[in-house]
Symmetry: C2
Subunit: 337 residues, 2 copies
C-alpha cells in the first residue's frame, strides 16, 4: 500500500536535491541530469511516494472517468446497474471503472482514499458502509444507488422496496393466503429493512399478525434460500405462500421446491423480488417484483454526469429519485378463495 504521509519534501531530502528538482523529474522536464533523475525516481519508488498533492490541487481537473463501486459483481442485479451506467457514461464520453469491494468497508475506504479514487470525476456507489457519516465525508460528486443514507449529503437512486414487498404480500392475501412466510437477510440497509416492513405492514393492514416462525432471516444467498425454504416446507404447519425477498433467495427457494417434488403454484405459492433466470425458466413462471435495474444505473449516471459537467460549487439539497416497481404476475400464486 502507498504511504500517504510521504511528501515531495521527503523525497527531495532523501535524494539530496531541491523540491523543484523532484518536481521537474515528476513532470518529465529537461535540465535534470540523467543520474539525478534516476536517483530521484529510485527514491520515489523506495518511499512509495504518490503525488497526492497533485490530485488535491487538480480538484477542478476533469479526468473523464467515473467509477461504479459495488459490493460484488456475481449478482446480476449489480451487473445490470453497471451496464446501465456504462452505456450512459460512454455516450457522454466518460470511462466507467468498476470496483467490487466484496462488501468490505475497508476496501471501500481504501479505494476512495486512493490516488485513483481521488482522480475519478465522480462515483456511483452501492455502499457497504452502514453509517451516513462515512458517505458524508466523500467530497466527490457521488450518487448512492439502491442503498441510501439520509444525512449523507448525496443524491440517490432507489426503488420503492417497501411498496414492492407490500404489493407482493397483498397479492397473496387477495388470493386467500394467510400463512405467508418471508425469507430475507440482514436488515443492514434500507432495501432489506423496507422489504420486511412492506411485508409486515400488508399483513397487519389485512388483520393478520405475522408469525415469527414464518420469518426466516439469514444471509442474502441462494444457499440460505434453499435451506430456509426446506425448513419452512418441512415444518409442522408449512406456509401456503413464500415471499423470497431477493433474486438469489428466490432461486434457492425454487430449487428447494423442485427437490422436494412439490408443484409450484399448486402445493406452494411463491413470489420473488427481482427477476432471475430460474424464475423465468420454471413452469409456471414465478411471479416477481420487477425493478428497473438497468434504468437505475442509467439514471444514476445521468445525474452524476450532470453534476460533473455543471461543476456546481454550492451543493444543492440532496435529491432522491425513486423508480417504480411492478408486480409481474405469473403462475406461481395459487388462488385459494
Amino acid at each position: 500500500m502507498t504511504n500517504r504521509n510521504i511528501t515531495i519534501k521527503d523525497v527531495a531530502k532523501q535524494a539530496n536535491v531541491s523540491v523543484a528538482t523532484v518536481s521537474r523529474v515528476i513532470n518529465g522536464l529537461d535540465r535534470v541530469s540523467e543520474s539525478t533523475r534516476k536517483r530521484v525516481l529510485k527514491i520515489i519508488q523506495e518511499l512509495n511516494f504518490v503525488p497526492n498533492n497533485m490530485a488535491a490541487s487538480m480538484v477542478n481537473k476533469k479526468t473523464n472517468m467515473i467509477s461504479v463501486v459495488v459490493p460484488e459483481i456475481q449478482n446480476p442485479f449489480y451487473t445490470a446497474v453497471i451496464e446501465g451506467t456504462v452505456e450512459v457514461a460512454k455516450r457522454e464520453g466518460f470511462f466507467t471503472l468498476v470496483l467490487s469491494t466484496n462488501g468490505d468497508e475497508g476496501e471501500e475506504e481504501e479505494f476512495l482514499d486512493s490516488f485513483l479514487g481521488k482522480n475519478v470525476d465522480g462515483i456511483i456507489l452501492i455502499g457497504s458502509h452502514k453509517e451516513a457519516e462515512f458517505y458524508r465525508e466523500i467530497q466527490k460528486p457521488t450518487i448512492l444507488v439502491d442503498r441510501y443514507f439520509n444525512d449523507s449529503g448525496h443524491d440517490g437512486v432507489m426503488i420503492d422496496n417497501y411498496r414492492g414487498a407490500y404489493e407482493a404480500t397483498k397479492h397473496f392475501i387477495e388470493y386467500g393466503h394467510e400463512r405467508i412466510a418471508i425469507i430475507d437477510g440482514a436488515h443492514d440497509f434500507n432495501d432489506g429493512k423496507d422489504r420486511f416492513w412492506g411485508y409486515k405492514q400488508a399483513m397487519l393492514e389485512h388483520g393478520f399478525t405475522p408469525d415469527p416462525a414464518y420469518h426466516k432471516q439469514g444471509n442474502w444467498t441462494e444457499e440460505d434460500g434453499y435451506k430456509f425454504a426446506k425448513e419452512l416446507l418441512q415444518s409442522h404447519q408449512p406456509p401456503t405462500a413464500i415471499f423470497a425477498a431477493n433474486n438469489v433467495l428466490c432461486k434457492g427457494t425454487i430449487r428447494a421446491i423442485r427437490d422436494m417434488n412439490l408443484k409450484l403454484g399448486e402445493d406452494i405459492s411463491l413470489i420473488g423480488f427481482d427477476e432471475n433466470e430460474l424464475a423465468q425458466f420454471v413452469q409456471p413462471q414465478v411471479t416477481v417484483v420487477r425493478r428497473p435495474t438497468r434504468e437505475m444505473g442509467e439514471q444514476a449516471a445521468e445525474m452524476l454526469i450532470h453534476k460533473i459537467k455543471g461543476g456546481q460549487l454550492e451543493p444543492s439539497k440532496p435529491k432522491k429519485v425513486i423508480l417504480d416497481v411492478e408486480l409481474m404476475k405469473c403462475g406461481s400464486v395459487k388462488k385459494l378463495n
Copy 2:
C-alpha cells in the same frame, strides 16, 4: 476527451507564467500566489491538460492498481475470471479495476491510452482486438486471458478449447451418435475456432464427415442458441445430438428443447461448453465441458503480480499456461448403442 498534445509548456505560455510555476501549482507547493494558482488551474482545465509526462516519467512507480479488461460483464464466465483476479490481487495488496469494453476495439484502445491505463501497474486482458499487432504495442505488464495471440509478446492463461470440444464430440460418438450438430458463433478468436476444430477433428477421426447443415453459426448469444436449436430440431432429419459451444448458446438450446416439449437426454442429447445455471437446474442435468473459470483469473493475477513485483526490465519469452478442462458427464446424453 483529453487532449494529449497539450504540454506543461502550453499551460505556462497561456497562463503567462514560467513552467516551474505551473509545476509548483500541479504539485501543490507553496510560494505561488492565490491568484496565479487559480489562473493556472483555470487554464489547465480549459486546455484539458493531463500531465502525461508525469505518467511517462513515473514508469517505475507502483500504483498498486491492476486492471481487468473484459468484453462484457453480464456473462458469468467473465465475472468468474474477475472474481478470481480480485481475490489474488487483494491478497497481494493490489486494487483491481474492472473495465468492460463491450467488445469494442475503440474502447479498448481508449482505455489503454488513457491516463488511467497508463497508471495501472499491469493489465489482465480478455481482448477485443483481433490482431496480434495491437497487443504487441502494449508496454505494460499484461496477461492475456482466454483469447490468445501468438506474437503478441505477452503471457497468456487459456484452457484447452480444442480438447474440450474433442472430448465432448467423442463422448457423443462413443454413445452411438452420428448425426451430431454444433452451434457456435464467429471464429474471431482462438477459443471459438479451436472448439469447432475439436468437434471436426473428433468426427473425422471416427470416420464421420461433418455435415455443413449441422453446423449452425451465428452470434455467441442465448437468442441464437434458441433459434438454431429450434431450426435443427425442426429440420427434415434432425440431429440426435447437439454440442452448444458456449454457456449462453447452451441455455438457449435448453429453452428450445423445453419449449418444443422434447425430453432432454431422450429425444435429443446435449453437451454444453462451460457450466451454466440452467444446465445445472434441469433434470437430467446437462453434461458440460467444465473449465476452471475462477482459477483462470487467479492464475493470471499471480503471473501478473509476479511480473510487476519482479520489475523485470528484460522481457523473457512469452509463456502460455493452459489449464485443463473436464467433461462433466450428467444425464443429457442418450446411449444409442
